[in-house]
Symmetry: C2
DNA sequence: CCATTATTTCGATTATTCTTGAATCATGGA
DNA sequence: TCCATGATTCAAGAATAATCGAAATAATGG
């Protein structure tokens, strides 16, 4: 993962609504959610949500798939783990450190 | 870790220079680095660096300690792991998922 | 106490991002 | 084909963040 990709992903997540959207998709898992469902859950206007979903999509943090007249968005776990790996890579020059596993519940 | 803290931390890291600074501190580990050393390594003006260090400090991602006429900045591994944990918490509603450990080298 | 080095703070300008409303595109059914 | 629904795009103004030069603060050694 390139540094520019990492920055794009971090910037995408560094916004209240986008973080909520991403967390909702992470919690939901492989089933994913439609924009309509997210609008209702997060009480946000469709165009505003669409803007933020596009940001997440462009950052590679979510994927988009059409299903009839709905779209299904899913969190990209591959991208997320790449991001986490970048932040901790080569920490402490290989010495023992306090970095804990990323996913406590899995 | 509160959502607002997470956003602050993500926003702090979502900037090329700040990410470089943070990575340099992560790689260096507990010894830490002075602003002067970072200035030289990253080829940045002292006041610009100071601005960004303050952002990282305010986000809790780095700590500051005075040592004579130098300041020593260190990455806060505690904060970083808290951030990583937030992003992956409750993923996939407890189902098995692909989330990998955060720190591959430690 | 003064000079020097290290680092931060201030203020103004520029650039970027967020929000909002109206318009547009895509799909499925009558 | 026409309409309704789900979702996105566009353009503007408002808010926020980044940059840079100049000045200020902090600590040490002479």
């Amino acid at each position: 993962m390139e540094e520019s990709d990492v920055i794009r992903a971090l910037a995408a997540l560094a916004h209240s609504m986008r973080l909520k959207v991403f967390r909702a998709l992470v919690v939901t898992g492989p089933a994913g959610l439609t924009p309509g469902a997210l609008c209702e859950a997060l009480e946000v206007a469709p165009n505003t949500l669409s803007f933020h979903l596009k940001e997440l999509l462009h950052a590679g943090l979510v994927t988009q798939q059409r299903d009839g007249r709905n779209l299904i968005y899913r969190a990209s776990f591959e991208r997320m783990t790449g991001l986490l790996a970048f932040l901790t890579a080569n920490c402490c020059q290989g010495e023992a450190c306090l970095a804990a596993p990323a996913c406590a519940t899995c």
